[in-house]
């Protein structure tokens, strides 16, 4: 680097190293630039003050141990580097071996599952044209029109992995994927016995059930999960895989697995709401005029917007010991008797207690609805 700053020039000026032309130019600048003159003043004062002598060096040459090897200090500095390199090497090998293993396909990722239904309805409302299939791909599969996981003839499975994932994500439910082959004797046995047992209906209700041929759409899933069929793969509400088991489970084992995966706090969008939303979207799809279409979309939006709130409040109400549940019940009664201010105050008090708790968001949502509409949300209508 050869660039010289003003300070370098001032130092050279003080040391008498500038030629006449440079000196004259710098003096001109000093006369014209007060800031530069101030720096010169400081520098000159420091230089004139002189230099304190430093004690002489008395380290004899013999004290040096000349060696081409790094000094111990260098070794010490090198140890962390070597350790870091080793860690990186191990991480690289692990990453490579992990990449070489078959990757399990990810399940539906839906962190705010119930709200997804609302998003679907909103997205549908933004579509420009009403035509068959206009809502395909917005998230709610056609099968949702009449789907329930259990009926009079036992469990009901959706045909297809993609539809199952879509519906599970939209309705905030866990998903059971049943990998089968039509020629598989155990699969036939399950279909004829276990799946028909009415004792499974209650346990299966919170789920979306999908069946997939192990040699077809489910081939990739089957390859990474089993060596034989049938296989059950269970995904949680968040879309993460939570359990896998194979063979032909009896009713009790299958029920236990479903109950365990569902957990006590599951708050899915109720099936009637899902079906009603799907129907409203379908009506909007085939509407004869814009007015009918807008009505249908508005109905879908209303259902979808209320659904998560209703589900969450229902869950809160079930938790009898929770202060939130008590507050909701009391606020509902107060609102029904016309005491809106008291209802709001009750919710405010509950929010203080529930801050950071499981139902803080729901309480806040109910309060906001109470303030906006002047009435407690009509939760029963959407349940």
């Amino acid at each position: 680097m050869s660039e010289r700053t003003d300070l370098d020039r001032l130092y050279d000026l003080a040391a008498g190293r500038l030629d006449d032309a440079e000196r004259a130019a710098l003096e001109e600048r000093l006369a014209a630039e007060p800031e530069l003159a101030a720096v010169w003043s400081d520098l000159d004062a420091v230089l004139r003050a002189g230099e304190e002598p430093v004690p002489p060096c008395d380290v004899p040459f013999e004290r040096l141990t000349l060696t081409d090897a790094p000094t111990p200090a260098s070794w010490r500095r090198g140890i962390p580097l070597a350790a870091a390199a080793a860690v990186l090497l191990v991480a690289g090998v692990w990453s490579f071996s992990r990449a070489a293993r078959p990757v399990r396909p990810e399940g539906p990722v839906c962190p705010e599952a119930p709200v997804r239904l609302e998003a679907i309805a909103m997205a549908a409302g933004d579509l420009p044209a009403a035509a068959d299939g206009a809502f395909a791909g917005v998230g709610l599969p056609a099968a949702a029109l009449g789907y329930a996981p259990a009926g009079p003839r036992g469990l009901r499975f959706l045909d297809g992995l993609a539809e199952g994932r879509q519906l599970a994500a939209a309705s905030g439910r866990p998903l059971v994927v049943f990998l089968f082959e039509p020629s598989c004797p155990l699969c036939q046995q399950l279909a004829a016995t276990t799946f028909r047992d009415p004792g499974l209906a209650a346990a299966a209700d919170p789920f979306v059930l999908a069946r997939v041929r192990a040699s077809g759409e489910g081939a990739e899933l089957f390859k990474t999960h089993a060596v034989g069929w049938p296989v059950f793969v269970l995904y949680g509400v968040d879309g993460q895989e939570v359990a896998t088991f194979g063979g032909a489970p009896d009713v009790a084992k299958l029920r236990d697995a479903l109950v365990k995966v569902a957990g006590p706090d599951l708050a899915p969008v109720p099936w009637p709401t899902v079906r009603a939303t799907a129907r409203a979207l379908r009506v909007a799809e085939i509407a004869r005029d814009a007015h009918e279409r807008d009505d249908a979309l508005e109905r879908a939006r209303t259902l979808a917007v209320d659904a998560p709130l209703a589900a969450a409040v229902a869950a809160a109400t079930r938790a009898a010991s929770a202060p939130a549940a008590r507050a909701l019940r009391e606020a509902r009664d107060l609102a029904a008797s016309g005491a809106l201010d008291a209802a709001r105050a009750r919710l405010d008090a509950a929010l203080v207690v529930e801050r950071g708790g499981r139902f803080e968001r729901e309480l806040a949502a109910v309060r906001a609805r109470l303030v906006a509409d002047g009435a407690f949300p009509a939760l029963e209508e959407v349940r």
Binding site: T5, L30, R48, A49, G50, D58, V59
Partner: protein, 199 residues
């Protein structure tokens, strides 16, 4: 003598050491503010010079190259030195040195007091100002050279130096008001300073 200019043999290296140890030790003592630490750093510096002698390409003086190594050795050791100073509770300052006879900045001044003030002012600077100041003021490095050594931009070095100079100069002026007047004398008539500014 190696092709690079640094002796390959012990005897040649001894001569190089004897010729340069005083200046490098002085630099290290000013940076470290501790004579004992400077002794250690001096040895580390020359061991590094010995090990890296083949890397010297003859660009610039041998002394400059060795001083670069010395500064980097100090910068590497700085955290250790600060830690050691904190642990022992001892300041890193060297003991006061006997002064020399006064010969400038007002012959009537107590030279020892002035130098002690200068040292106290320099030692009291933040490390980020003091190190460029030492390299610039005592080693005669340009701002660009200091910047390269310390991994800073020349402008940043210039700013730090201006602040360090201001701090030290104010200390000097507090002891020796005449120093300011003397400094301004050189350009006083041309600078057209205000009355209060020049006094």
């Amino acid at each position: 003598m190696s092709t690079s200019g640094i002796p390959d043999d012990t005897e040649g290296f001894r001569r190089l050491y004897e010729a340069n140890r005083a200046s490098i030790h002085r630099l290290l003592a000013r940076l470290a503010r501790d004579g004992h630490a400077a002794d250690d750093l001096l040895q580390e510096t020359f061991l590094t010079v010995w090990r890296k002698r083949a890397q010297y390409r003859g660009e610039g003086s041998v002394e400059g190259w060795m001083k670069t190594i010395a500064v980097r050795t100090y910068l590497n050791a700085r955290p250790r030195l600060v830690r050691a100073s904190a642990e022992t509770g001892l300041p890193m300052d060297p003991p006061a040195r006997p002064g020399v006879a006064s010969d400038d900045v007002g012959g009537r001044l107590d030279r020892n007091a002035l130098l002690a003030q200068v040292r106290a002012a320099v030692d009291g600077l933040p490390a980020g100002w003091r190190e460029p100041f030492v390299l610039f003021r005592y080693e005669g490095l340009t701002c660009a050279q200091v910047a390269e050594l310390m991994g800073l931009s020349p402008k940043a070095v210039e700013l730090r130096l201006a602040r360090a100079l201001r701090a030290v100069a104010e200390r000097v002026r507090a002891v020796v008001p005449q120093a300011r007047a003397a400094a301004l004398d050189a350009f006083g008539p041309r600078l057209n300073l205000a009355e209060g500014e020049a006094s």
